[in-house]
């Protein structure tokens, strides 16, 4: 087998990826690509980022053996890679720190970002506060409603939140508006994209910054189990936490890798966010990848109880990994995710975000009474605090807001 080496210099993962944006943005993306290549070789940048990872984020995040859940599943030994313990409560901060250091190096003075669940918005607002840069967060009005705690967090951190009323009023539309803002303010603005989506070099850059997750997990599991894991499992919306965990293992052919998408009300319904199960290749937000679209290429609205997975596209690298069959992708519906959310809370004393609850649900469903003596690492990419109201409502608990 050949060593995995993606993307190409023009940002292609196999046939996926690329740079499909208006000419107004092209010079910026090319410049960003150049600057990113340059800082990758910069030792000072690496040191600065590592210091922040250690002292500001609290890395390395631990690898926790989820004994009770493993017993409940009666199958493999399950480890959680606990990126939910990071400062700001999710993996998103890893990427934001990398990108804001780059923005600083490029002399940019204004930061914009899109957010769905609010985790990326909070992480962006956090790093902007740390580096003293003005921060504008685009967020769908539907998400503002269902992620109130994060909205307040961003405000406390000094960010300006711009509600997006177009389309489905969720992540896709927030990204459209952020891109429009960027086109309008090209000279001074840096757009911190939160997922492995968007035009090149974002999918590569975000993956690289997130791959600290997989690098740590690899070292940690070798230490405790003296072998590589048999399975990796992570949820996939745009796909940044998953790419972060998967990437350092892609050349380890014995490690089986599973991505779990949000199937909303089911992969066969119109109300889904399972792009790779229900979608077809197309172009959204500057990149060629699987998307939910109709026969004329109009992008469909996604549906998921989890705002972070409610996206009709997916990062191009995932599309490639699906097509070369390196990673298998499955859908988990809202109900299954909610059940896993409760199971994990009760059994492990960890309230997961609704996003990794999808990965948990798949694990419970597919590994129950199976795969004994195997080792699984699941990316616990976010904590559930932000989802308490949504979950309470769905479960039927009266939580007074």
């Amino acid at each position: 087998m050949k060593t995995y080496k993606q993307p190409s210099t023009i940002g292609r993962f196999g046939e996926f990826g690329g740079m499909y944006v208006a000419e107004t943005l092209m010079p910026l993306l090319l410049n960003l690509d150049k600057s990113y290549k340059k800082i990758q070789k910069d030792k000072k940048f690496k040191k600065e980022l590592n210091d922040l990872f250690k002292n500001y984020v609290g890395r390395p995040s631990s690898l926790h053996y989820a004994k009770n859940l493993s017993k409940f599943i009666n199958g493999p030994k399950v480890y959680f890679k606990r990126d939910e313990l990071n400062h700001t409560g999710a993996h998103k901060i890893n990427n934001c720190l990398g990108q804001i250091l780059l923005a600083k190096k490029m002399g940019k003075t204004r930061i914009i970002a899109e957010t769905g669940a609010g985790q990326h918005g909070v992480a962006t607002a956090t790093v902007c506060s740390l580096f003293g840069l003005p921060c504008y967060i685009y967020m769908g009005s539907k998400d503002i409603e269902r992620q109130k705690p994060n909205v307040f967090r961003m405000k406390l951190l000094g960010a300006t939140i711009i509600p997006v009323e177009s389309g489905s009023k969720s992540l896709k539309d927030a990204m459209n508006e952020a891109l429009r803002d960027w086109i309008k303010n090209v000279r001074d603005t840096f757009y911190i994209i939160g997922s492995t989506a968007g035009p090149h070099p974002y999918p590569k850059m975000v993956r690289d910054f997130q791959s600290v997750i997989g690098k740590e997990a690899r070292e940690q599991i070798l230490k405790v189990e003296k072998k590589l894991p048999d399975y990796l499992i992570a949820c996939v919306g745009g796909g940044s936490n998953a790419m972060g965990l998967f990437y350092p293992f892609l050349n380890d052919k014995k490690v089986k890798i599973i991505g779990v998408e949000a199937a909303g009300r089911g992969v066969k319904t119109e109300e889904t966010a399972a792009t790779m199960t229900s979608g077809t290749p197309g172009i959204l937000h500057g990149s060629y990848s699987y998307v939910l679209q109709d026969k004329d290429g109009q992008i469909k609205e996604a549906h998921s109880i989890s705002a972070g997975l409610d996206y009709p596209g997916v990062g191009p690298e995932h599309s490639h990994l699906k097509d070369i069959k390196r990673v298998k992708y499955f859908g988990i519906n809202d109900k299954e995710a909610l059940e896993a959310f409760q199971t994990c809370s009760k059994l492990e004393g960890i309230i997961p975000a609704l996003e990794p609850s999808h990965a948990l649900a798949y694990l419970i469903k597919a590994f129950k009474n199976k795969h004994k003596n195997k080792v699984v690492i699941l990316n616990m990419c976010g904590r559930g605090d932000k989802d308490l109201f949504t979950a309470a409502k769905a479960i039927g608990f009266d939580a007074d807001e």
């Binding site: 023009i10 690329g18 740079m19 499909y20 944006v21 208006a22 000419e23 107004t24 092209m26 010079p27 910026l28 177009s166 389309g167 896709k172 459209n176 891109l179 429009r180 086109i183 309008k184 303010n185 090209v186 000279r187 197309g282 172009i283 959204l284 937000h285 500057g286 679209q293 026969k295 004329d296 290429g297 109009q298 992008i299």
Partner: protein, 258 residues
């Protein structure tokens, strides 16, 4: 024969309108009105669900057009029907790449061959265009290039090499229908482009009135203008009354034809 090859030397007028806006049947009336003025170029916008380079007015037009489930085929049929009375007017399609891809490039070109003179694919940059450009040029359809104030000299040279039809110079770094015009900067950049190309350079984005058109003509070296959002805005200004809108369009187009 490609109408874009015989564009006048100066004061070129290009009018943009979204296909199927606000409904397919009303759209026919709107385009007939526009065509009756025989502008040099008509740009037919194919509606897309996620028009990321367009401002709120054209976004709204796209949304209205798509709300009655307008298909790509219906838009192309509309253009074909109108082409019967196109005379010297150049027909240009403006769209996003996913629309063309999903329809099928070959089928798309077959449907517009001998009808459409040029195409602007907003999100198809120079780096990704070679295959599509080849197919288009085989069928005598010009791939129109956008150039922005962010495009530097080296890049502009690459983009201009072998370009046909006209150059769409994005006057403000911005999305359609936004920002103020900076004539000094426009003049500087247009002059610079005209040194490198013989085809007309049209200025688009942010042109709203007769005054703007006159000033572009007087204060810059541009060969003409593109008006889009301002044309569509009238529909909302006139409270979405089609009859009033058609009258309003007539008046507006007469004004901006200088």
């Amino acid at each position: 024969m490609n109408n874009l090859d015989t564009l006048p030397k100066k004061k070129i007028l290009s009018l943009f309108m979204t296909c199927g806006f606000p409904t397919l049947s009303q759209s026919k009336k709107i385009f007939n009105e526009i065509l009756s003025h025989q502008p040099d170029v008509i740009e037919f916008g194919l509606p897309f669900s996620d028009p990321m380079a367009d401002g709120p007015i054209i976004q709204e037009a796209n949304k209205l057009a798509l709300s009655s489930n307008l298909s790509t085929q219906q838009s192309l049929n509309l253009i074909k029907e109108l082409s019967k009375s196109k005379n010297n007017t150049s027909f240009v399609i403006m769209c996003y790449l996913n629309t063309v891809r999903k329809f099928g490039l070959d089928k798309f070109i077959k449907s517009i061959k001998n009808i459409v003179d040029g195409i602007i694919i907003v999100d198809l940059p120079f780096e990704e265009e070679s295959e599509i450009k080849k197919s288009l040029s085989k069928n005598n359809i010009h791939l129109i290039k956008l150039i922005s104030p962010m495009t530097d000299k080296k890049r502009a040279q690459k983009l201009l090499k072998g370009s046909k039809g006209f150059i769409y110079y994005v006057s403000a770094t911005g999305i359609t229908g936004s920002n103020k015009l900076d004539f000094k900067e426009i003049n500087k950049n247009v002059k610079f482009l005209k040194k490198m190309t013989n085809i007309p350079v049209l200025v688009g984005f942010g042109i709203k009135s007769k005054k703007d058109v006159l000033e572009i003509s007087k204060k810059t070296n541009a060969d003409g203008v593109i008006i889009g959002s301002a044309l569509i805005q009238k529909y909302f200004d006139l409270k979405m009354d089609l009859n009033k809108y058609v009258i309003g369009l007539k008046k507006f187009i007469q004004e901006v034809k200088i």
